[in-house]
C-alpha cells in the first residue's frame, strides 16, 4: 500500500482504563490524509484521553494507534516528530516575546539555523502574527494565544495537527478567523484532527467526524455517511404547493420509491427511498397533473441533530 493512500491516523481497539474507570473502550477509526476530522463528544467522553494517546503522552491499556505508520507506544519520538499537538489549555512562558517563543520551539525541534528562520517566518505569516512579534506572550488574548500555539505546532512542518478543543473560549470573531486558518491548513495539505463540543464550528469545516460518548465510538465517517447509516437511504422532502390539492397524495403513492406522505394545507412532506437521480419522477408526476409548487427543501440532518440522535447525554 502506498504511503499516500495509508490513513494518517489509524486507531485499533484502543482502550484506556484508569483504576476502575474505562475512559476509552476499544475504539477503532481511520483518518485519511489531507482532511479536517472532527472528534466530537460531550465533556468526559474520552476525547482528551484519546488525543493524549495519539500524541504519545499516554500509553493505552490495550489496542493501538499509529500516526503516519509510527506506533504511538513503541515509537513515541517518531510520532512527536510527525505531528503537531495543541493541548486544550495553551501554556505560555512569561517574559518571552512571540518571536522568542517561536524561536525557542524551533530550536527545541532541532531545526537547523537556516530552516529555523524560514519556518518561524512561514508560521508567523500563516497565522498572521507578524504585528505581534515583540509582544510578550503572556499578555496575548486567548485567540492570539491559540494562534501562537498553532504556529508552534507547525514549526517542524508536521503533516498532522492534533488540536484539543481549539475553539473553546474564543469570541465569535476569533472562532471565524481560526476556522479560516484551519481551512487554509487543509489547503496546504495538512491533516487536522480536532476535538470539540461546539458542533456548529465543526459542521462547516469538517470533512469527516468521529462521535464518542462514554468512551465508546458511536459513529465515524463523513457527515453524509453517518446520515445514511442512521436513517438508511431515506431522505425527507418538503414541498410548498402553490394551491391546496387533495389528489397530490394519491399521485405520490403511485411512485414505488415514495414512502410515507403527509399533507398539511399547502405543505407536502414525503420520504424518498430511491436514488437521488430518480427524484425527477416525483416532479414529473406533479407537473403532468399540473400541480404547481413554489418551493422544495431536502431535509438534511445537520451535525447537531446527528449528535443528538446518537448520544444519550450521559457523562462518565
Amino acid at each position: 500500500m502506498s504511503l499516500v493512500s495509508t490513513p494518517i491516523i489509524q486507531v485499533r481497539d484502543l482502550t484506556m482504563r484508569f483504576a476502575k474507570k474505562e475512559a476509552v473502550s476499544a475504539i477503532s477509526f481511520d483518518v485519511p490524509r489531507g482532511v479536517i476530522h472532527g472528534f466530537i463528544g460531550p465533556n468526559g467522553a474520552g476525547k482528551t484521553t484519546t488525543i493524549r494517546i495519539l500524541a504519545s503522552l499516554l500509553v493505552p491499556t490495550s489496542g493501538g494507534a499509529w500516526i503516519d505508520g509510527a506506533n504511538v507506544v513503541t515509537e513515541p519520538e517518531e510520532v512527536r516528530r510527525r505531528l503537531g499537538y495543541m493541548p486544550d489549555y495553551v501554556g505560555v512562558y512569561e517574559g518571552l516575546s512571540v518571536q522568542e517563543y517561536l524561536d525557542f520551539f524551533a530550536l527545541a525541534h532541532r531545526l537547523a539555523p537556516a530552516r529555523r528562520r524560514a519556518s518561524v517566518a512561514d508560521v508567523i505569516e500563516l497565522t498572521d502574527l507578524g504585528n505581534l512579534l515583540e509582544t510578550e506572550v503572556h499578555v496575548l488574548s486567548k485567540g492570539m494565544r491559540q494562534r501562537l500555539c498553532l504556529a508552534q505546532t507547525l514549526l517542524h512542518e508536521p503533516d498532522l495537527l492534533i488540536l484539543d478543543e481549539p475553539a473553546s473560549g474564543l469570541d465569535p470573531r476569533a472562532r471565524i478567523e481560526f476556522r479560516g486558518l484551519l481551512t487554509e491548513l487543509r489547503r496546504l495539505g495538512k491533516t487536522v484532527f480536532l476535538s470539540s463540543h461546539i458542533l456548529s464550528e465543526l459542521s462547516s469545516i469538517c470533512d469527516s467526524v468521529s462521535i464518542i460518548e462514554k468512551g465508546v465510538l458511536l459513529a465515524d465517517g463523513s457527515i453524509e455517511e453517518i446520515q445514511m447509516r442512521l436513517r438508511g437511504a431515506t431522505v425527507a422532502y418538503e414541498v410548498t404547493l402553490l394551491e391546496e390539492s387533495t389528489e397530490v397524495e394519491s399521485i405520490l403513492r403511485e411512485i414505488p420509491q415514495v414512502g410515507s406522505v403527509l399533507l398539511e394545507g399547502r405543505k407536502l412532506r414525503f420520504d424518498w427511498d430511491g436514488e437521488d437521480a430518480l427524484i425527477h419522477q416525483v416532479w414529473g408526476a406533479l407537473a403532468a397533473r399540473k400541480i404547481a409548487f413554489t418551493g422544495v427543501r431536502r431535509e438534511e440532518d445537520d451535525l447537531e441533530s446527528l449528535f443528538m440522535s446518537l448520544t444519550s447525554g450521559e457523562v462518565q
Binding site: D13, S28, A55, V59, C149
Partner: protein, 520 residues
C-alpha cells in the same frame, strides 16, 4: 530532507529560554539588589568594625574582606539556588507548558541539563559580578589570585550540586510548595555543615579554602573518597531527575539501578582499601570489638532503609524494558537482575544488601588469619567468645534485613506505590521496635516479643540460654516472614498476571505493536 540541528543536544534551547525568562523578570532585579545589598552591607559592617577596632595592616584587611565576601556568598548560594531549582520543573507543569515541551525533540535528560545550566548561569552571573573588585584586593597583599579562583571553583561545584538537588526535588514533585519544602531542609543542613566547618577553621582565620588546604593538607585518601562521593551525588541527582521526567513505560529505571550498583561497589572498594591494612585481631579495628564490629552491624541494620525503595518499586516491567529485552541483546541477558519489575526488584535489593555483608565476611576472614600472629598474652578465649557474638549478630541482621526487603516487595505486589510500600514496611518494623522497647521497659529486660525486632535483640545479646533461644525465635521469625512475603507475593503477582521472572510487561499482548486490519 529536513535539516536537523544538534544544537539542542546539551539543552541549549532550554538554556536560552531560561536565561531570557529569568533575567527579564522583575524578581531577577530584586534578587540582584538583595544580593548586592547583603554583600555591600557585610563589607560596610566590617569596615566600620575595623575602624572602631583600630587599624590593622592592609594585608589583614584584604584577607578578612575576601573571607567575609566568600562566607556571605556561600550563604547566599544556599538560599538562592534551592529557590531557583525547586520551581524549575513544577512551573512547567503548573503552567501547562510541559506537554508542549516534551512534544519537541528534547529528551528529559536534555531538559534537566538545560534547566541546570540555566540556574547555574544566573548564579555564576551573580557570583562573578564582584570578581573585578575582589581581584583588586590582591593589590594589598595577603590574598592571591589563585586562592580567589580556587574559592570560586569550590563555590561553583557546590552550586552545581545544590542546583541538581533542587531540580531533583522539582522533578519529583507536582507542586512548587512541596518541591521547596523538600529541598530547603537539605539546603539548611548543608549550610549548617559547610558554614560550621568553614567559619570555624577557614574564614574566621582570614583564610580561603586553598590557603587552608596548603596549610593543613588532608591525606590523599580524603580526595579518594570525596571526589567519587561528589560525583555520585551529582550524577545520582541528575539521573534521578531524568527518572522522574521520563514516561513510566520507559527504561528509566535501568540507569538508576546501574548507578545504585556502581555506588555500592565503589563505596565498598574504598572502604576495603582503607580498612584492609588495619585489620587484625589485636588492632583497634577488630571486627569482634564492640566499638568497630557493633558499629558496623548497626550501620548494616540501616541499609534496608536505602534499599527498600528498590525492593518496593513497581512490579510491572515497563514496556520499553520488555522491548529492549525482547531484542535479545547480550547486555540485557547479562544485566538481567538490573532490569526492573517482578521478583528481580527483590533479588537486586537482596544482592545489594549482601555485598556489604560479603565485604564484612572478607575482612573477618582476613582478621582470623592474623590470629596466628598474636602474642601469647592475647586473650584468645575472650576473642573467641566475641567472635561467636559477631557471627551470630551478623547472620541475624542479614536475615532480618532480607525479611524487611521482602515485606517492602510484598506491599508493592499488593499494588502500593514504591514510596508507600517502603514506608509501610519500614513503619511495621519501627512499630515492632517501639513495641518491643516498651515491653522491655516494663519487664526490665528481654521480653518474649523481642523476636519481632532482631536489631534490638542483637544490641543486648548476652549469650544466656534465654537470649540464645530468643535469637533462634528471631531468626525463625525473619525466615518465616521472608518466605511468606515471597510466596504470597509471587501468588499475588501471578493472580494479577504480572510475570515474576519473565521480562514481559503485563497486558503487552493486549497492546497492538503491529497494525491489524480495521475491525468491522
Amino acid at each position: 530532507m529536513k535539516q536537523i540541528s544538534k544544537s539542542a543536544g546539551m539543552g541549549t534551547a532550554i538554556l536560552q529560554k531560561e536565561l531570557i525568562v529569568r533575567m527579564r523578570r522583575f524578581r531577577s532585579l530584586i534578587v540582584q539588589l538583595i544580593f548586592a545589598a547583603i554583600l555591600g552591607g557585610a563589607m560596610w559592617m566590617y569596615s566600620l568594625s575595623a575602624t572602631i577596632g583600630g587599624a590593622t595592616s592592609p594585608e589583614d584587611h584584604a584577607q578578612t574582606l575576601v573571607a567575609i565576601y566568600f562566607a556571605v556568598q556561600l550563604a547566599a548560594l544556599f538560599l538562592i539556588i534551592p529557590a531557583l531549582g525547586a520551581v524549575s520543573i513544577t512551573t512547567e507543569r503548573l503552567g501547562r507548558t510541559w506537554d508542549l515541551l516534551i512534544g519537541t525533540d528534547l529528551s528529559p535528560g536534555e531538559i534537566v541539563r538545560g534547566k541546570l545550566l540555566g540556574i547555574l548561569s544566573v548564579t555564576f552571573y551573580f557570583m562573578l559580578l564582584p570578581a573585578p573588585l575582589l581581584a583588586m584586593t590582591t593589590l594589598f597583599g595577603g590574598v592571591s589570585i589563585g586562592s580567589i579562583l580556587f574559592e570560586y571553583f569550590i563555590h561553583m561545584l557546590l552550586a552545581l550540586l545544590l542546583g541538581s538537588c533542587a531540580i531533583l526535588s522539582s522533578a519529583a514533585s507536582k507542586g512548587t510548595a512541596r518541591a521547596i519544602l523538600q529541598v530547603y531542609p537539605l539546603a539548611a543542613l548543608g549550610l549548617m555543615f559547610t558554614m560550621g566547618f568553614l567559619s570555624r577553621f577557614v574564614y574566621s582565620e582570614g583564610l580561603l579554602i586553598l590557603d587552608y588546604l596548603v596549610m593543613d593538607p588532608p591525606p590523599w585518601e580524603f580526595w579518594l573518597v570525596a571526589i567519587p562521593l561528589y560525583l555520585f551525588a551529582l550524577i545520582g541527582t541528575l539521573v534521578g531527575s531524568t527518572f522522574f521526567l521520563s514516561g513510566v513505560e520507559s527504561a528509566r529505571e535501568i540507569p538508576v539501578r546501574i548507578l545504585f550498583l556502581v555506588t555500592f561497589l565503589t563505596a565498598i572498594c574504598l572502604y576495603l582499601y582503607a580498612e584492609i591494612p588495619n585489620v587484625s585481631a589485636t588492632g583497634f579495628n577488630s571486627l569482634t570489638s564492640s566499638g568497630h564490629g557493633q558499629g558496623l552491624i548497626v550501620a548494616l541494620a540501616f541499609l534496608p532503609l536505602v534499599l527498600l525503595r528498590l525492593a518496593g518499586s513497581e512490579p510491572r516491567v515497563p514496556l520499553r524494558v520488555a522491548q529492549i529485552y525482547g531484542e535479545g541483546k547480550l547486555a540485557t541477558r547479562i544485566g538481567y537482575f538490573l532490569l526492573p519489575g517482578g521478583l528481580r526488584n527483590l533479588i537486586l535489593s537482596i544482592l545489594l544488601y549482601s555485598i556489604p555483608f560479603a565485604m564484612v565476611l572478607l575482612l573477618y576472614s582476613i582478621e582470623l588469619e592474623t590470629l596466628s600472629q598474636v602474642s601469647e598474652n592475647f586473650d584468645l578465649e575472650n576473642y573467641q567468645s566475641r567472635q561467636e557474638t559477631f557471627e551470630v549478630s551478623l547472620f541475624t541482621m542479614y536475615l532480618w534485613g532480607m525479611s524487611v526487603l521482602a515485606l517492602g516487595w510484598f506491599f508493592a505486589q499488593i499494588g502500593f506505590g514504591g514510596i508507600v510500600s517502603s514506608v509501610l514496611a519500614l513503619g511495621i518494623h519501627v512499630t515492632f521496635a517501639m513495641f518491643v522497647t516498651t515491653m522491655m521497659a516494663y519487664t526490665s529486660g528481654l521480653t518474649g516479643f523481642v523476636f519481632l525486632s532482631p536489631p534490638l535483640l542483637v544490641i543486648g545479646l548476652d549469650f544466656s540460654p534465654t537470649s540464645m533461644m530468643m535469637l533462634t525465635e528471631a531468626n525463625l521469625f525473619s525466615s518465616i516472614s521472608l518466605l511468606v512475603c515471597v510466596l504470597v507475593g509471587i501468588a499475588l503477582s501471578r493472580a494479577k498476571g504480572i510475570p515474576v521472572l519473565r521480562v514481559r510487561r503485563p497486558g503487552m499482548d493486549d497492546l497492538y505493536l503491529e497494525l491489524p486490519e480495521k475491525a468491522s
